[in-house]
């Protein structure tokens, strides 16, 4: 068994007195697709920062396998219009020659945008440019923060399909944070339900019947996604703290 690409052991993060994340233990290997869902303020973006190494855990450990190449697609990236930048140059800043850049853009279906200014792209085009930039580095770990935000339903499923086929091609671990429960539930291998800690995890059909999941996302939504029911081990009070 090779070492996982990234692993968390009882990892926690706090800003001042506020515990944003606590007791996170999980790991990802090549080929794993993990999708993190959770309500606002659940610490999804903080978890990404821990995994990327931008934030250091205030307790426990976060380990990236030495020499791991990471591809990152950040959330809601706003570019200063005062900074002139073409798509090709934007990818060039990540390293890689012109033919690699062209190939990456072609792979995500936006080869025709290479000479366009990044400021005139639509939301969907820009997400694909960011994805092309991430795969240009041939990552072993691909981290995406709300990649489908602002896309319509067709755009969302096309993007998730693309991510899945990129995983097959690059054999990388993929961690995605998402709000789009329907698309997530339909496609992903493992769902990790976050609310300060890991509430529940498992296959989509398994998790959609978890009482913790119902608690977080509401009866109606959970029922529409539900297939399977499994054992309930805790609930949350109004502050999101665990109650046995």
């Amino acid at each position: 068994m090779t070492e996982p690409v990234v692993s968390l052991e009882d990892a926690g993060l706090r800003y001042g007195e506020t515990h944003v994340l606590h007791d996170l233990t999980f790991s990802m290997s090549e080929g794993d697709i993990v999708t993190v869902i959770g309500p606002n303020g659940a610490g999804k973006t903080s978890l990404i920062k821990l995994i990327l190494g931008i934030e250091k855990p205030s307790s426990g450990h976060v380990r990236q396998r030495a020499g791991t190449r990471v591809g990152y697609v950040p959330q809601r990236m706003t570019l200063q219009p005062t900074l002139p930048l073409t798509v090709g140059r934007f990818l060039g800043l990540a390293g890689g020659d012109n033919s690699a850049i062209e190939a990456a853009l072609a792979r995500t279906g936006v080869a025709h945008l290479a000479n366009e200014s990044v400021h005139y792209l639509s939301g969907g085009e820009f997400q694909r440019v960011l994805l092309a930039r991430a795969i240009l580095r041939r990552p072993q770990l691909l981290v995406l923060d709300e990649p489908a935000q602002g896309l319509d339903v067709n755009g969302q499923s096309a993007l998730y399909e693309l991510i899945q086929s990129l995983r097959d091609e690059l054999n990388c671990a993929v961690l995605t944070v998402s709000h789009d429960l329907h698309v997530v539930m339909a496609s992903t291998d493992t769902v990790l339900c976050l609310n300060g800690h890991i509430c529940c995890r498992g296959q989509p059909e398994q998790i959609s019947r978890d009482p913790a999941f119902t608690q977080l996302f509401g009866e109606h939504l959970a029922n529409t996604l539900a297939v399977y029911h499994h054992h309930h081990n805790h609930s949350h009070d109004v502050h999101g703290d665990t109650v046995p």
């Binding site: 920062k49 990327l52 190494g53 931008i54 990471v70 990152y72 950040p74 990236m77 570019l79 200063q80 005062t82 900074l83 002139p84 930048l85 073409t86 140059r89 934007f90 800043l93 990540a94 200014s117 580095r137 981290v143």
Partner: protein, 268 residues
């Protein structure tokens, strides 16, 4: 030729101005891209404190200006980490306090006659050979750093976390950019003065924006426009007997207006 430049005050001023404009081009782009105009003003105002302290301790003025600017840049960087004051409030406090302290300290030294106007608005024509040497050394250092760190500086400007993930040392790069700005302000002060330095940084960069499709081209065009402004301003100053520093800034503003008007008239 070299003799002429070194020995004639007009050509010394021209050479000094051109060197500063060359370096200010790319750095000015970062000031525009990262919205650091107010930060530049704050550093420039603190330069006056550098002059006051340098005069009080009879130290080299260029050195004391650079040191005070660098110190302020580091203090700003440390203070901006705590979030209880908005960064523009913090900048406003440090900017005007350092200017005021500088003026008070200068006022207390009555036995020194200091040409305050020269420092506030620049005294381009008073550049001596030693100043020229400082500008050349400082300019070469900043230019070399800009080229060397270019990709990293650009990445932290586009997206700080993306830069960090891709292995750039974002904290060090931010510090380097602040130090480079401090240095360019310390060298440019002789040319346009404390109150007009930010103009020399941001006006050529802003004027270059509509002409450029890549960041590199914007930096080069900003340098060229800055150098054009020095030549035009110096010529204006020579023929019309206007103050040199403000004439340079007025020329830069002229270029800016022309380019943006031309842009507005041309069909997009």
């Amino acid at each position: 030729m070299i003799d002429l430049i070194l020995n004639d005050f007009f050509w010394r001023a021209m050479a000094g101005g051109l060197m500063v404009a060359l370096v200010a081009g790319p750095l000015g782009c970062f000031v525009v891209w990262r919205r650091m105009a107010y930060f530049g003003d704050t550093l420039a105002h603190s330069a006056l404190l550098g002059i006051a302290l340098g005069t009080a301790f009879q130290a080299n003025l260029n050195l004391s200006i650079a040191l005070v600017c660098i110190l302020l840049a580091v203090v700003l960087m440390l203070l901006s980490r705590q979030q209880s004051l908005a960064s523009d409030t913090l900048l406003g406090i440090l900017s005007h306090s350092s200017l005021a302290i500088g003026l008070v300290v200068l006022g207390m030294m009555q036995d020194f006659s200091i040409d305050l106007t020269g420092y506030l608005f620049g005294d381009l024509l008073a550049i001596n050979q030693r100043d020229l040497l400082w500008i050349a050394l400082g300019g070469a250092l900043i230019l070399a750093l800009t080229v060397w760190l270019w990709r990293g500086l650009l990445m932290i400007t586009i997206h700080d976390e993306l830069a960090a993930v891709e292995g750039h040392r974002t904290g060090l790069l931010r510090l380097a950019l602040m130090l480079m700005l401090s240095l360019v302000i310390a060298t440019a002060m002789k040319i346009v003065g404390v109150l007009l330095i930010t103009a020399l940084l941001i006006i050529p960069a802003a004027a270059a924006r509509p002409l450029a499709a890549t960041p590199e081209r914007m930096a080069v065009i900003a340098s060229l426009l800055g150098m054009g402004s020095v030549v035009a301003g110096m010529t204006l100053s020579w023929h019309m007997d206007t103050p040199a520093g403000p004439s340079v800034v007025v020329s830069a503003f002229g270029f800016f207006l022309l380019l943006w008007l031309a842009r507005a008239r041309s069909p997009a």
